[in-house]
Amino acid sequence: MSLEIKVPTVGESITEVTIAQWFKKEGDAVDLDEIICELESDKATFELNAEAAGVLHIKAQEGDTLEIGATICEIDTDQAISNTEKPTPMTESKKPSTTGEIKEMIVPTVGESITEVTISSWLKADGDFVELDEIIAEIDSDKATFELPAEANGILRIVAQEDETIEIGASICKIEVMEVAPSAPETPAPAVAEATNTIAAVESTYATGHASPAAAKILAEKGIDPSQVKGSGVDGRISKEDAEKAQKAAPKAAAPSKQEATTAPIIPGSRNDRREKMSSLRKTVAKRLVSVKNETAMLTTFNEVNMKPIMDLRKKYKEKFKEKYEVGLGFMSFFTKAVSMAAQEWPSVNARIDGNEIVYNDFVDVSIAVSAPKGLVVPVIRNAESMTFEQVEREVVRLATKARNNKLTIEEMTGGTFTLTNGGIFGSMLSTPIINAPQSAILGMHNIVERPMAVNGEVQILPIMYLALSYDHRIVDGRESVSFLVRVKELLEDPTRLLLGI
């Protein structure tokens, strides 16, 4: 069936209007109540809403002047529209005026080396009203996650879908700019497609959006807020069927969905597998690690460290340190200081290859590998060689917290001349870490285990940590790498040396 939309009566003295702008193109799918064009009269500008859902056939072009009652367009209601991209019918009769301006938002330049990003999740649904600077989406690059703030007030029209990878400068979304917020925000309608033409006139009451007992349970299990569901029951109550048909408006990122997976009933003997798209971060990590394996001459040297002296020292000063600096005295400060000192004595370990040249650094920027919710990240402690223990501890806490909250900036992860990685926190006793390119060495820390050691001809049980130094043999020779590691061992086993620099 085809529905003709005519120029409505807009005021007593107004006899004709001009089509100022079409927001939709010929053949576009439109939704009930969606704004499809802007009309101008000699007194005011107003918007025309679609009177049905369907496919638009334009009869009057922009600039045409029409009399009241003349046909503007036709909507072919027979042609079903995909309901995935379906924005919601607006229920309120009054609407704030759009300015007609459409703000196109593009992928911003986020870092020098970043050429593409992935839409990690939309926090707002298509058709939602968004406010200027409100966070509307999360974007993953291969280095970090960004939040995308809205660049205007208005109705969001999503261009790039979730999980889509787009280039810098490409269009993410459009905002139909509005001057003020609508009195009631548009709610995304996950429910019933066919019901759109019957529920338009529902007035909201205290019971609107109240979920029946069975519906409430279903929504809770799907993790959908009842306020996001359009109820088809009396006064907009949410029925069991509404809840069953409801789909999550803006699925959150990987973390919550994973949680749901684990709480789902486990059926014994089931053999399901699950496919998940690799995030940009994961893809980049994968690509890099393989290229390091292929393009460097990497090998690993090992040593063991008696941790007793450091543990004793920590035990003795832990409280005082905490009292004075309000940060705990951990192992990271000892290791960071030890490798900084050793790296300055064996500069090739702290160097990198750039074409046909070797770049030596007179500073030590220590990257620390942190396991973040989205994967491995390596924030950098800069000028570690000139930092105090307290400064190192503080910086470690700051960076690790940011990493866990996905708040690290690109800046904080760029650079680094040497990397520390601690598999010990997960229980690793020994491993061969992979170099963090373009650096030339990485030190693997492990868990502390009690081992019988021969000390002055007697067996003693001592807390031991195995250390592994992977290095790029292209620029670091055996003598340097082994000496570096022995030096680290000396400094850790007798931390007084750190103080004296001997």
């Binding site: 205290y206 349970k217 009396v234 109550r237």
Partner: protein
């Protein structure tokens, strides 16, 4: 044996939890201290008391209304032994039904006292002292409650009794003194009052069933007065003494005057207390509150992960149907489902005659909240159905929000109130307005029309039949 879930206690909370767990595919065991399943509710609570209430109601009707109905009887008399035996038969059939349900759902029934060794291991000591042990991933504590008493009252179970003994009396008391004007006292007091006993109620508060809406207590007091109830409201019991054949209850009124009441039986029905004896909660560190209730969070999980509590042993109304909802809730929660319980919409029922039933807020609660409400009431006197059956005591009271007309509370005292309250629960779960019910067709003639009429009154003060 290793189970996914073990339920301790087979009352209505415990056995429902076990069945729901089994339905969801969990390997389930249930531990019961007594030889029969069903807990207090089936053995010494809801079911046997209803059996005696129905028997005594028939007798009382025969005695007081049959003549007017045109039925004349000679030599009407009570056979108390037969009444108690019939009650025992009802109980036996019901508990056998639970055993059948356990078998049908492949739930292992373990008889004995369950006691925690650690959070996953439970020792079961049977009546002969034999010990067995089960391992369980999750445990649901559903050990219920037992009658509470006052420190200075010695329950001798002969003259000074609790509800349990009151269901097994060998004679009809001449004068039964009921301490506590709550649900249990009113129900069992009614049983013996109908059979001819004089009943005196001593209650500390100023009204009967004091936790319910004030109108209910007032109306019930009037109705039971007709049965021969005496009231000592606002009286604080200070002592109970008994001889082989008599009991004396001493109480103090508000003015501090001492009152002495003499009778032959004293029913102590001041409430119930959670029962956790022998569970070995201390072995695993499950916390209880100052009233001995097991502390649970909103997921009904105790302070120990994987151990849950339901029913009378945790906070909330001590009602079988509340325990059942909680049993379902935990079973489904364990499977990762997200059920809900709307505690405000758990109905409360008193099986006196007239019956009392209520759901939602009382008028007193709404006043305290400062909420603007309107009220509609309809007396059963004006109901054709009630007139036909000669059950004209009581009324329906509907409380609705002043602005939105949403029903906030429904309080019924009248014939079959316990069955009628279900309509109010359904309506309120859907947040119906008083006018919604007023606009739904109610079959004529039924008692439920009184609810519709009260809703009409609440909507716009437009009852048809008053």
């Amino acid at each position: 044996m290793k189970y996914d879930v073990t339920v301790i206690g087979s009352g209505p909370g415990g056995y429902v939890a076990a069945i729901r767990c089994a339905q969801l595919g969990l390997k389930t065991a249930i531990i019961e201290k007594y030889s029969t399943l069903g807990g207090t509710c089936l053995n010494v609570g809801c079911i046997p008391s209803k059996a005696l209430l129905d028997s005594s109601h028939h007798y009382h009707d025969a005695e007081s209304t049959f003549k007017e109905h045109g039925i004349e009887l000679d030599n009407l008399k009570v056979n108390l032994k037969q009444m108690i035996d019939r009650k025992a038969g009802v109980v036996a059939d019901n508990v056998a039904g639970i055993s059948f349900l356990m078998k049908k759902n492949k739930i292992d029934v373990l008889h004995g006292i369950g006691s925690f060794i650690d959070k996953n291991n439970i020792k079961i000591t049977d009546s002969e002292g034999k010990e067995t042990q089960v391992e369980s991933d999750k445990v649901i504590i559903a050990t219920g409650s037992k009658p509470a008493s006052l420190p200075f009252i010695k329950i001798d179970k002969k003259r000074v009794i609790t509800s349990t003994e009151a269901l097994e009396l060998k004679e009809i008391p001449k004068h039964m003194i009921v301490i506590g004007g709550g649900v249990i006292g009113m129900e069992l007091g009614s049983v013996y009052a109908r059979l001819g006993a004089e009943v005196s109620v001593v209650e500390y508060m100023d009204s009967l069933i004091p936790t319910m809406d004030g109108t209910m207590g007032k109306e019930l007091k009037k109705s039971l007065k007709k049965l021969g109830f005496n009231y000592y409201l606002g009286h604080k019991v200070t002592g109970v003494s008994s001889t082989a054949k008599t009991v004396t209850v001493k109480a103090e009124n508000k003015k501090g005057e001492l009152v002495e009441i003499k009778g032959d039986y004293c029913l102590v029905s001041i409430g119930r207390k959670p029962f956790t004896d022998g569970l070995g909660l201390e072995n695993i560190g499950v916390k209880t509150d100052e009233r001995g209730r097991i502390e649970v969070n909103e997921k009904l999980e105790t302070s120990i992960q994987g151990i849950y509590g339901i029913g009378d042993v945790i906070k909330g109304a001590m009602l079988a149907h509340k325990a059942e909802e909680e049993g379902m809730f935990i079973a489904e929660s364990i499977m990762g489902q997200k059920p809900h319980i709307n505690y405000n919409l758990i109905p409360g029922v008193v099986y006196t005659w007239p019956e009392v039933a209520a759901v939602g807020f009382t008028e007193e609660q709404l006043k305290e909240q400062g909420r603007a409400y309107k009220k509609g009431a309809f007396p059963f006197k004006a109901s054709g159905r009630a007139r036909a059956s000669m059950d004209m005591d009581g009324q329906v009271k509907v409380l609705a929000d002043q602005d939105t007309d949403e029903i906030l509370g429904v309080h019924i005292i009248g014939p079959r109130a316990a069955d009628m309250i279900a309509e109010a629960v359904v309506a309120m779960e859907y947040r119906a307005s008083a006018e919604d019910i007023a606009r739904m067709s109610h079959a004529h003639p039924t008692y439920t029309e009184a609810l519709k009429e009260a809703c009409l009154a609440a909507t716009d003060n437009r009852s048809i039949h008053v």
